[in-house]
Symmetry: C2
Subunit: 387 residues, 2 copies
């Protein structure tokens, strides 16, 4: 018996019309609707019974007959070969060069809240580097001699000796979800919402470093964060965020060192704030008394406001949510029960509640939230749906 | 200026005496002790001042001068080449064959609570397989015809349509930490405690499937879980655990599908219970009214009790903790401030408190716990230490 899937997975790149044409004219419908109806009603069995039999369960498989692969075949393992199409991908035509570009996270294929580091979205301005941590340095200085009494240059090892914290946070590019403001432009949630990822970050609170360096916390109202790549990436961070203890000089991501594409060996973590402020390959922090007016906060990364003016220094990512399955490009092959699953997040704190509509917004019902709900972190929601 | 690290990382395999001999006779001491003293006292600067200068910070680096690598160079990214020695590894001589063996998780190099899936420990009995999810089946049956009214065979796609949950849990091999009961046998925390990992698992509560299948929850007191590899791995799970909703038929791990070495496409998740019950490549669940007395709960995976008898059906992993840094094989190159970091976990619920001693148990102080503290999950603790 050849079983049909209930849901055809999203094409992992753009819609493949040939694959669409191969869909069965009439899919085997209703399996789980019946299953659920039967289970709920305690009614008569209408399910595929085990005794009906199919070779896949009745005959010993290759895995049951042989000797498998040894332990530590991969000292650092990889996903199944059957998951090879789940990749972070460029949106063709979006940018002229792949060094100043974006790769999008395949949200349609992910579960829970942790983004596998191998699928973390990328946004580079002059390409990424795998920087030798033995030669990397982080400098802390003041805008004048009194602002920071003891300017510091730290090695990565020195930084890693200091008291650290680990926290789960989302990171989102300021341009995320802007693709569809004008019209439906891209076919899947990977491209509409995929400049979004979530990790457990580990690092040293920046306030600890500033206090070590003898910062003047009365006069110091802003820090400048500078990256080590050639793009001259610099951003102003208000000291209110730093003083909260939330801003980290991070070296860890999902239990291991940051990935090179995510700023190895050091990046700034600025929870709730757009990704461009999470400066990668972090090399310098300067404490000053005024915003720095850098190109990536006054000319780029500005937002058009309703009155036609441009807002500079965009910062907090406001609350958003998206259904990741079923979602664009996926095809429901059966009526009946489907689990709706999605993500909600806010740069201002915890998600309190998510409502879901399956009729274009006429009726709404409350979704279940996966716990623990954490501040400035993705929250997975789910809802049951009978189509 | 060539800076010395404060802490020499653990040799990632066994202790390299040649590397030990190359240690500087007198390491550059006290950097952070002074730093902390100065910061705390607001005293005179004794730190490495930025203006002292070193080429690594004063001269433009290669990364600052050139064009880096493009986005999506790796559709599924990898760690930095500088982290290549951090691997899960076999303990040489522990087993005769690598298909019935263990690879240990490098806890000494990890942060926070999430274990990168590529470094998840392995314990196989007949090797691992990368099973095609399109042909994999999960069967649910009863020990007699009345135990399960509607025996079921599910495809992976059918299972993935059902309401799922995602939860963070540790998994620990029942043999973990037994290596040193007799004497100090292995040199690093990777080998003393590394049959331990922690992930966000996603799956369908087993109780949902049993209810769908019309289980007799009065008579049904145990389930048998059977794996799809050739080892005949079968374990008895008490229905009290299943009824709690905690036992999952999982397909997701850290946001993506399970890794092949961890049971792709389906494994049982039995929070708090030793890893052998988290049956990989799960193919069958049987509901019965008595324990099944399988080889891996009555002959293997039994525990010697103080009175000399063997305990069968070992289940809950009791509370444990370990300092992961500084730890075996690591060498402290400087006196002064060091951050102590470690893990605590219990198969019975949440960690309430961790105390740390740095003088062989004479004095104890309370460690900080990383939040959120989750049930049957690793908890990261930390403490400050001036040596």
């Amino acid at each position: 018996m050849d079983r049909l899937a209930a849901l055809q997975r999203a094409p992992e790149h753009f819609v493949d019309t040939a694959a669409m044409a191969r869909l069965p004219a009439k899919a085997r419908r209703g399996f789980l609707r019946q299953a659920f109806a039967a289970a709920l009603a305690g009614g008569a069995a209408t399910l595929a019974r085990a005794e009906d039999g199919e070779a896949a369960i009745l005959e010993p498989t290759e895995a049951a007959r042989g000797l498998g692969a040894p332990v530590a075949l991969d000292g650092y393992g990889k996903p199944s070969k059957y998951e090879a199409t789940l990749q972070r991908r460029q949106s063709p035509g979006l940018t002229q060069t792949r060094q100043a570009s974006v790769s999008f996270c395949p949200l349609q294929g992910l579960f829970g809240i942790v983004t596998p580091s191998g699928l973390h979205f990328e946004r580079h301005h002059q390409g990424w580097w795998d920087i030798d941590p033995r030669t990397h340095r982080l400098m802390l200085n003041g805008s004048d001699a009194r602002m920071l009494k003891r300017p510091l240059v730290l090695t990565v090892d020195e930084l890693m000796r200091l008291p650290s914290v680990s926290r789960f946070h989302f990171i989102e590019c300021g341009a995320n979800t802007a693709m569809e403001w004008g019209n439906v432009a891209v076919p899947t949630v990977q491209y509409t919402h995929g400049m979004l990822s979530c990790s457990e970050f580990t690092g040293v609170p920046l306030i600890t470093l500033l206090e070590m360096a003898g910062a003047d916390l009365q006069r110091g109202r802003f820090v400048l964060a500078e990256g080590g790549d050639g793009s001259g990436m610099t951003r102003t961070i208000p000291m209110e965020l730093v003083r909260s203890g939330e801003v980290l000089v991070a070296y860890g991501q999902n239990g291991e060192m940051l990935r090179p594409e995510n700023g190895y060996p050091l990046r700034l973590v600025v929870p709730g704030v757009q990704g461009v402020s999470w400066v990668k390959w972090l090399r310098r922090i300067e404490l000053g008394d005024a915003p720095y007016g850098t190109k990536d906060e006054t000319l780029h990364y500005v937002d058009l406001m309703p009155d036609g003016r441009q807002r500079q220094y965009s910062s907090i990512q406001e609350v958003k949510s998206v259904i990741t399955t079923p979602s664009g490009g996926q095809v429901l092959l059966q009526r009946g029960f489907h689990a709706i699953s999605g993500l909600a997040w806010s740069g201002r704190g915890k998600i309190a509640r998510v409502d879901v509509s399956v009729d274009g917004g006429r009726n709404w019902r409350e979704a279940r939230l996966q716990t623990p709900v954490m501040s400035k972190c993705l929250t997975r929601f789910s809802a049951d749906w009978v189509w």
